[in-house]
């Protein structure tokens, strides 16, 4: 699975994307966030601001309940500020 990060989330986590092998017990976005939070504190500092984080699976907006698999592209980013 590829995970992409944008804007200040990318800076807090220290990378713009990463490849991970999804553990068997991670079935949805909420479980993925728990998994990442256990990797190191950078993730915790980001995901504690859950109200400020938008999620996309395969370039489509989704929620924390959305089911995911190893072939998916996940993105975490703040509310958008273009235009």
């Amino acid at each position: 699975m590829i995970i992409k990060y944008f804007s200040w989330i990318k800076e807090h986590i220290g990378k713009s994307e990463e490849l991970i092998e999804l553990p068997d017990n991670v079935k949805n976005i909420s479980e993925l966030i728990n998994y990442l939070n256990n990797l190191n504190d950078n993730y915790k500092k980001v995901f504690v601001k859950k109200d400020l984080i938008k999620i996309a699976v395969n370039k489509t907006y989704c929620s924390v309940e959305t089911k995911i698999s190893n072939n998916d592209e996940i993105a975490f980013f703040p509310p958008v500020t273009g235009g």
Partner: protein, 158 residues
């Protein structure tokens, strides 16, 4: 309503500047009676944080940005009788007075073009994955999202 309806649509994400007059001309065609366009420009001052802006850098999510804008434009031409639409959004480093975004819509009669252009711009502000970071000699700051942009989309949910 004809669900299969399509119109000429141009969507570009680019570093380069755009020529408003040229883009407006492209929207003119046989059935066009009105063209409404919006141009967003970099301000040199951020009133919310009372700070000078020396430059602004825009990043986006390649692929998703284009998909989201396509969805918005499609909703727009399914809702209004318009004859063409163009959305150009710049990325990279921009300076005060630089153009950021162009939204142009053509239609047979003016009200459809006005409403459709407004609709596309409101939804682009809240859905298209772009992020701005403002810089001056003292700080670099990611722009906070604006709650009033979310509010602006509510007028379309009829």
């Amino acid at each position: 309503m004809d669900q299969k309806k399509t119109i000429p649509v141009k969507i570009k994400i680019q570093n380069d500047d755009f020529d408003v007059s040229k883009e407006t001309k492209i929207l003119q065609e046989n059935q066009t009676g009105a063209i409404v366009s919006f141009v967003g420009v970099v301000r040199g001052f951020d009133e919310k944080i009372n700070s000078v802006i020396e430059s602004m850098t825009l990043e986006h999510y390649p692929g998703m940005t284009e998909l989201e804008i396509k969805k918005i434009v499609k909703q727009s031409y399914e809702r209004w009788d318009i004859t063409g639409a163009t959305v150009i959004h710049r990325i990279g480093k921009l300076l005060p007075t630089d153009q950021i975004v162009f939204v142009g819509v053509s239609s047979r009669h003016r009200q459809n073009a006005f409403d459709s252009c407004n609709f596309i711009m409101d939804w682009l502000k809240t859905k298209a994955p772009f992020w701005k970071v403002e810089e001056n000699e003292h700080q670099k700051k990611w722009v906070d999202y604006n709650l009033s942009d979310d509010e602006a989309t509510k007028k379309w949910s009829i």
